[in-house]
Symmetry: C2
DNA sequence: CGACCAATTGATTGTTATCAAGGGATGTGG
DNA sequence: CCACATCCCTTGATAACAATCAATTGGTCG
């Protein structure tokens, strides 16, 4: 049985809406699981009866076109939840970018529990509304921004989202390589690489290692992001 | 006071989850309003304390970049709801594409009512999850598809979504002009027009008037959509 | 009929994808 | 500890696609 008391996302995940007895019942339904980097938890089109809370690590949501090109349509961070409650098949693949830890529920049990606990459902609704806003904002980036605007916007958003986890004062470590960045931004790996090189040449960022980023001139970056 | 009994979206909107007394109380909170084509109901950044159900017509959700370029991030059809429950400001503008009719609620009252009626909240959650799936699927189109694939995908989706309203056997009437299509697909008006012309030249569609579309060869269209 | 607006068409430019090759880090086995 | 292989990233040359700039057409309404 999971120990929710020591859970690092206890205060932020949807379970935060549950108290003593409810939490005990909820945690009895849970199965804790490690997901190694690169492993796919859910395949698209599959009717996976599974809901999960992310405890640690980062996962990606991927939609693939018929010809194999991929678009990452969402990133899942600790305290976010994964899966499609209420019985629809998953329209996208869920793959771990780093080693991850999740807390898994059987979907039927989860649905029943949610129906009986309006507070939980309320949290779920709020999170889904937030995700929808984020997805829609990302549509502006994909549809209307140039390559340099995309890369600048991306680095700013990653800086914000990773700051909460990393707590390094200066920079942050991306949980993925160049191809993944390209798949997030709707670009090729070459274009992505060129834009990063240019940002470094202009002194706006430093790239001390493959995945590390230090933003030197945040104002310039925000101007570039459009 | 609104008359929900004769409401054309009675069976499909979120209110479908309410019965006799609940519906009566809910409808006392509602204000029926006409929105003429082109009129903006909600501006981005504004903290509009407003939730609405669409009864008739079509509206668009728009995000604008700093330089004025626009991306349509969602279309709102009858029975869909508009607004951001639970107190966040709207991240996008909501503008009517056609003359529309909506059923408006004060957000605070709506939130309180939703909190007290789990069935309503459940419907809201399901709809929001569906919208999120749709938005994410659209991200593949924006990030990875070519102009011709975008236009073909668009016509197919419009065919599906409008068929439910129109019920014309052969074709359908788009509720918007070329610039709006371009803003949905992340293209310019010229590119959009050229792709439509090419589809007509290839005999795949007919464009009997500015906004009318008849799909002749649906298979070819699906092949094009990628 | 003429004015106006939306859509189309044409010519050209610019950006990004594609194709191709060259670094540079990491890890393994000799 | 070094040679080598591998993987990922970068860089370069070229091509394709869509954006932009610029007219023109066509449909609608006073």
């Amino acid at each position: 049985m999971s120990n929710c008391q020591s859970c690092p996302v206890r205060g932020r995940a949807i379970c935060a809406s549950l108290d003593g007895d409810e939490l005990a019942a909820f945690s009895r339904m849970a199965r804790h699981q490690r997901v190694p980097a690169g492993h796919t938890l859910i395949w698209e089109g599959e009717d996976v009866p599974l809901i999960a809370n992310v405890i640690g690590g980062v996962l990606k949501l991927v939609v693939a076109a018929a010809d194999g090109r991929e678009q990452i349509v969402g990133l899942v961070f600790p305290s976010d939840f994964i899966g499609r409650p209420f019985g629809k098949e998953s329209p996208y693949r869920v793959t771990a970018l780093t080693d991850a830890e999740v807390c898994i529920y059987n979907r039927n049990s989860f649905d029943a529990f949610a129906a009986a606990h309006p507070h939980l459902q309320h949290k779920l609704l709020r999170r889904t509304l937030d995700e929808l806003d984020r997805a829609r904002y990302w549509m502006l980036l994909l549809g209307r921004k140039s390559a340099s605007q995309k890369v600048a916007s991306f680095l700013l958003e990653m800086s914000d989202r990773l700051a909460r986890l990393d707590r390094k004062e200066a920079g942050f470590e991306l949980p993925f390589g160049r191809q993944q960045i390209a798949d997030i931004l709707g670009l090729t790996i070459e274009t992505t690489s060129r834009q990063l090189t240019r940002l470094r040449a202009d002194g706006i960022v430093d790239l001390p290692s493959r995945r590390a980023v230090v933003i030197h001139d945040r104002d310039a970056m925000e101007r570039m992001a459009g």
